[in-house]
């Protein structure tokens, strides 16, 4: 199953078309699971994109970065600055976010990739925390520190000014006259997610992707085969940093504000969870993980004690109170506990992530070959 011959152009096209359809009809299936509102759908698409990019580094090369939220933050700040200084048009803004986060990733990657394994992870973590703290302290003129960076009415916006576009009271990002909030915002993110997924598919299917996997499986052999592993790893790091910057840019497009909390280490940890939860090194896994986590966050954090009590009010009061006492730490602001439990379950029973679970079920039903052979055949 695992040969290059198997990933035919036709198969790749089907993957891309099916993926695009699923993304574009997200408002439909979203409403079926109670997620049919644009704000959540936007987050699905944006964090899906973040995880797709992260997977290019972590999934293909095995280098675990704990600092990708820094690139997310850079993308957001750059986008808001583009809104403030140039134009409310989203396209130049996200283009700048990709360029700047790419440059930032180039510097950080160049330094962090001097080390491997746990040392690499710690270095990236240190850099991300430094960026976070800088955004709060020295860089306050650029980041506005704790208040966060806003778009204001009297910002210069030179391009908009030259074109005679007058911005509204609270300016929103736009795309040639279309205001990018609500479903317009979601579809803008969705199209970019599809493009990002297409690029990731290309990377997975290319000799470059295969070489990244080769570096992951045997770096020594790669060196003695005549490949310099450094530029390969740096390229993967920068590409994934650009994805993160793009995702950060999109966050600022659908809600034109940037704050330092986006760069905190918990945000870096979240993308690691997403990737592993869905299925590390697979095409769809990271997106499934991102959607699952953002969906769970939305559902579980929305439940409070009153709501819980109302669900169980048909029971005697003492039992209701008991249930509420037991369940309440796992919902509301404590929803991370539920996430943690779910993550543990998946790691113990399905180390390959949710996608592995789906493939196991699939294999049982259709009696196909071994599940681990199904997804990775483009590269592995």
């Amino acid at each position: 199953m695992k040969t290059i011959e198997l990933s035919t152009p036709k198969r790749d096209l089907i993957i891309l078309v099916v993926f695009s359809i699923i993304v574009l009809i997200a408002p439909l299936w979203g409403s079926l699971i109670g997620a049919g509102y644009p704000d959540l759908l936007q987050r699905f698409a944006i964090f899906g994109l973040f995880a797709v990019g992260y997977n290019i580094l972590f999934g293909l090369t095995g280098y675990l970065s704990f600092g990708h939220a820094a690139f997310l933050g850079v993308g957001s700040y750059v986008t808001v600055w583009s809104f403030k200084l140039l134009t409310m048009n989203a396209l130049p803004a996200i283009a700048f976010s990709v360029v700047f986060s790419g440059l930032f990733a180039l510097v950080i990657g160049f330094i962090c990739l001097r080390r491997t394994g746990i040392y690499f992870s710690i270095l990236t973590l240190a850099f991300a925390q430094m960026s976070y703290n800088l955004a709060y302290s020295v860089l306050t003129p650029i980041t506005q520190g704790e208040t966060g960076l806003f778009v204001l009415n009297d910002d210069p916006r030179v391009i908009d000014g030259a074109l005679g576009i007058v911005s509204a009271e609270n300016p929103l990002a736009s795309l040639f006259g279309i205001t990018l909030d609500g479903y317009e915002g979601f579809y803008f993110c969705a199209v970019i997610l599809i493009l990002g997924f297409w690029l990731s598919l290309k990377i997975f299917r290319s000799p470059f992707g295969m070489k990244l996997v080769a570096i992951k499986t045997n770096q020594t052999r790669m060196e003695y085969t005549g490949f310099n592993h450094r530029p390969y790893l740096l390229a993967a790091f920068v590409i994934s940093g650009m994805y993160a910057g793009l995702a950060g840019g999109l966050l600022a497009v659908v809600d034109p504000i940037a704050g330092a909390e986006r760069m905190q280490w918990t945000a870096s940890g979240e993308v690691v969870l997403m990737t592993i939860l869905g299925g590390l090194g697979t095409m769809f896994g990271p997106i499934i993980g991102a959607v699952t986590i953002k969906y769970m966050e939305n559902i579980f954090s929305g439940i409070n004690d009153t709501l819980l009590a109302s669900w169980f009010e048909f029971l005697p009061e003492s039992i209701t109170n008991l249930i509420v006492t037991i369940v309440s730490p796992f919902v509301g602001s404590g929803w991370h506990l539920t996430l943690g439990l779910m993550f543990m379950m998946i790691m113990i029973f399905l180390p390959g992530g949710m996608l592995e679970g789906a493939q196991k079920i699939n294999a049982k039903i259709f009696n196909k070959n071994k599940p681990e052979q199904l997804e990775k055949d483009g590269v592995a």
Partner: protein, 258 residues
């Protein structure tokens, strides 16, 4: 024999290497002739692996010169630089890419030879690299591994991993092939298969340096043998000369089968 007329591929002159107080290599002079199989033998700790690692840039020589096509390999080249110059290496424990398919394992070194040490083109799919795939299949066929080439390489037996590693080196058409105990830890059957394989490669006239414990392997393959003991070359010559050499017998201390 016309040893004087043949080209010297690798010219090692006056190489010294010590670890702390231990003189691992002392004043090594060695000429590897083109198209020949040159074996380096010696008891444990004689410095064989140190010598090989110095040649490929893993260790830096304290003094001396290792000349390969006008490049001095003691000048601190990285392993990939040395490979790109045309030196491929087979390891004691076969080094392959266990998670990739057998075919992909052979394609990767072919990419290294064609594209150099770094090339990033994500818009050409692996499946469209037909020439490389065909060449890889050809080499696998040559080594009798073409069946099941889409299997995971990590599932191969040790003997077959060695075979695969050799295919990976051969597809690069190296000017010099270094073999570090190619039959170490192998069962008799696998050893014999590997010897057969190396004989086959020998017919193509590839220059090889082979480090080996197994005298059976050495005497069936080598054109020339250098004996290393305590970091110095104590004897050098054709297999027949080495067999009866008193110093060699002494170094091996009663290994009667020598």
């Amino acid at each position: 024999m016309s040893a004087e007329q043949s080209n010297i591929v690798l010219d090692i002159t006056g190489v010294n290497k010590s670890f702390g107080g231990l003189q691992a290599l002392s004043d090594i002079n060695l000429q590897i002739e083109e198209g020949k199989t040159h074996a380096i033998i010696g008891p444990n700790g004689a410095g064989k692996s140190t010598l090989l690692n110095t040649c490929i840039g893993l260790l830096k020589a304290d003094s001396g010169r290792i000349d390969f096509e006008g490049n001095d390999l003691t000048k601190g080249y990285l392993p990939h630089d040395i490979n790109q110059m045309g030196i491929s290496r087979v390891f004691q424990t076969p080094q392959i890419f266990p998670d990739l398919s057998i075919l992909q394992n052979v394609m990767i070194p072919a990419f290294a030879r064609r594209d150099g040490s770094f090339k990033m083109n994500i818009f050409k799919a692996l499946r469209d690299e037909k020439e490389i795939a065909e060449e890889a299949l050809h080499f696998l066929e040559d080594l009798g591994m073409v069946d099941g080439h889409s299997d995971r390489a990590g599932s191969l037996s040790r003997g077959n991993k060695r075979r695969l590693e050799l295919a990976m080196c051969l597809i690069q058409h190296p000017k010099l092939l270094l073999l570090d105990e190619p039959t170490a830890g192998m069962a008799r059957h696998d050893t014999n298969q590997t010897i057969e394989l190396l004989m086959k490669i020998k017919e193509r006239g590839m220059t090889k340096v082979i480090i080996e414990h197994d005298m059976h392997v050495v005497f069936s393959l080598a054109d020339k043998i250098s004996v290393l003991a305590q970091g110095a070359i104590i004897a050098e010559g054709h297999p027949d000369e080495i067999k009866g050499h008193p110093k060699v017998r002494e170094a091996y201390l009663g290994s009667a089968e020598v």
